[in-house]
């Protein structure tokens, strides 16, 4: 099994919009969903459809994985990359990437995105967060007032 796995040279990922990405096996290691798919196959080349991930997002994820899988990059360089990576994302991109990360089951990228999203809602009002996450409140106004009162200090 191990020998077969290592014989795979290139993995082709096909995004929801049909765009195709060719990546090395070590890049997809982080994507557990893809990795388990590969593990089940007995082929030299594989092509994997990812119907829940859009091309733009997949491109970004692959870029992230490449940077972090690289052994030549220093820790500082990776941190610098992370910083820039978050900086050029729009708010909506972050949510989409989180969703993609969830689908691909990428633990460290998930945490990374969760942090980025947390930064997005930091020091924001409940209304802002609701709007950002598109959450519809299922509280009555009384219930909500009660909850706010319970932790008054946090809403000051």
């Amino acid at each position: 099994m191990a020998a077969e796995k290592s014989s795979i040279k290139i993995i082709t990922l096909i995004a929801a919009d049909g765009s195709v990405f060719e990546v090395e096996p070590n890049i997809v290691k982080e994507m557990k969903t893809v990795q388990s798919y590969i593990d089940e196959l007995d082929q030299n080349t594989v092509s994997i459809p990812l119907p829940n991930v859009f091309g733009n997002d997949l491109a970004m994820i692959i870029e992230y994985c490449k940077k972090h899988a690289s052994e030549e990059e220093t820790k500082e360089a990776k941190e610098e990359f992370d910083f820039e990576f978050v900086k050029r994302m729009k708010s909506d991109d972050k949510l989409r990437l989180l969703q993609a990360a969830s689908y691909l089951n990428m633990e460290s990228f998930l945490q990374f995105m969760a942090k980025a999203i947390a930064a997005e809602i930091e020091n924001q009002s409940v209304e802002f967060v609701r709007d950002y996450f598109q959450i519809e409140s299922d509280f009555t106004p009384e219930e909500e007032a009660e909850l706010r009162k319970e932790n008054e200090w946090a809403f000051k």
């Binding site: 909506d92 989180l98 947390a118 959450i135 519809e136 909850l147 319970e150 932790n151």
Partner: protein, 388 residues
């Protein structure tokens, strides 16, 4: 493996209510990454988020997000001032109240058998006060273990646990009030202040190893007989007052007389509880009972470095000379001490009973008179006063 309905996504920029489709684990990641105030605020988003907040494994109890500085002077300088002022009791109290509140909401009915999820990673938590909490052993000890950065810990009127293990390296201040336990292990080298009040615990169950204790205060303010008494604490915690302690407070209390056995101190050949470097001793509610005197005598004779013995809350200091419990069996005691400056400066009334004129009694009175500058009245029913 089907492509999700693209129509919706095109219209709504691909994020319609998607967050509620995400599994809890991922939302936990988000909450965990938030500061404590923002994390608490998420519970107002929707009912699901209450559940999420109550089950998240990680809270950063960072006080800068819990006690907000006075608004409109939020500049760098006043912020630093605020940092300093956190040390004040007021803020510490507020902080604990908030932590208390969050925990209360977090653990709900307390029916959890493992470490409170909120404390799985709390290295930032420095001050923690748990009051009227019900926690099983594994929870309270898990909390202590996980909050290894704690500097101040107060455990008050809480139950549900039998043993406490406190080994937090950074702990400086420890307060244990109104507890009922089987055993307590305090093993904190750097602990400076230890306050124990009304502790119900078998004498042998209390083990304290804190070599750098500055201030130890033990009080029994409640009635029940099984409250651990001061005498028992000393009897069993031979390491309690070791080398570096310099302040020591004893509270004599009628309801829980610390020395029921007047022979107690005399019977001990090596009363190893005494701190050789003890410098300041405060005695409260001293009533002049023989065994209290015997205890003081013990203190005085062993604490060679003592500079000041302060008698508080008792402006009347009664010394009873009695054959059965003569306070100074060794007549050389006072003479041998070069600076026996044990007298409380505020001492105003001294009553001497059953004075017999023995040399050492005189020596003791002489000492009292010369040191107690504030003394207004010295009462002495028996008239044999041999000049000194």
């Amino acid at each position: 493996m089907s492509i999700p309905s693209s129509k919706k996504e095109v219209n709504e920029k691909r994020r319609v209510d998607f967050i509620s489709q995400l599994p809890d684990d991922i939302l936990f990641f988000i909450i965990s990454s938030l500061s404590i105030d923002d994390a608490v605020k998420t519970s107002v988003l929707s009912k699901r988020w209450i559940y999420l907040r109550n089950n998240v494994s990680h809270f950063d109890f960072d006080w800068t997000h819990m006690l907000k500085p006075v608004p409109n002077i939020y500049n760098r300088i006043s912020y630093n001032k605020f940092l300093k002022s956190l040390a004040t009791e007021e803020n510490a109290r507020k902080y604990s109240e908030i932590v208390n509140g969050i925990l209360h909401q977090h653990i709900g009915d307390y029916l959890i058998n493992s470490v409170l999820p909120a404390f799985e990673s709390c290295e930032k938590l420095k001050i923690l006060k748990l009051e009227k909490m019900s926690m099983v052993d594994s929870i309270i000890n898990g909390i202590l273990e996980n909050c290894f950065g704690l500097e101040k810990f107060c455990l008050i009127e809480s139950d549900g646990f039998d043993s406490l293990k406190i080994e937090n390296k950074n702990l400086k201040y420890l307060e244990l009030l109104l507890l009922d336990v089987e055993e307590i292990d305090v093993n904190v080298e750097e602990l400076h202040v230890l306050v124990i009040d009304s502790l119900r615990c078998p004498p042998k169950g209390l083990r304290i190893y804190s070599q750098n204790l500055w201030n130890f205060s033990y009080t029994c303010n409640s009635d029940p007989q099984d409250i651990l008494q001061t005498r028992e604490v000393f009897e069993n915690c031979s390491n309690l007052l070791v080398e570096e302690s310099s302040v020591f407070t004893v509270t004599f209390d009628n309801c829980a007389l610390p020395f029921p056995n007047s022979m107690f101190w005399e019977n001990r050949e090596v009363p190893d509880f005494v701190c050789m470097k003890l410098k300041f001793v405060t005695v409260k509610r001293f009533t002049g009972k023989a065994l209290e005197i015997s205890f003081l005598k013990h203190l005085i004779t062993r604490a060679y470095m003592m500079k000041k013995l302060q008698v508080e809350e008792s402006s009347v200091f009664t010394v009873t000379f009695d054959n059965c419990a003569l306070p100074f069996p060794n007549s050389m005691f006072w003479e041998n001490r070069e600076v026996p400056d044990f007298v409380c400066m505020k001492l105003k009334f001294v009553t001497v009973k059953r004075f017999t004129g023995k040399a050492l009694e005189i020596s003791f009175l002489k000492h009292l008179i010369t040191r107690a500058y504030m003394m207004k009245k010295l009462q002495r029913p028996v008239v044999y006063f041999v000049g000194c």
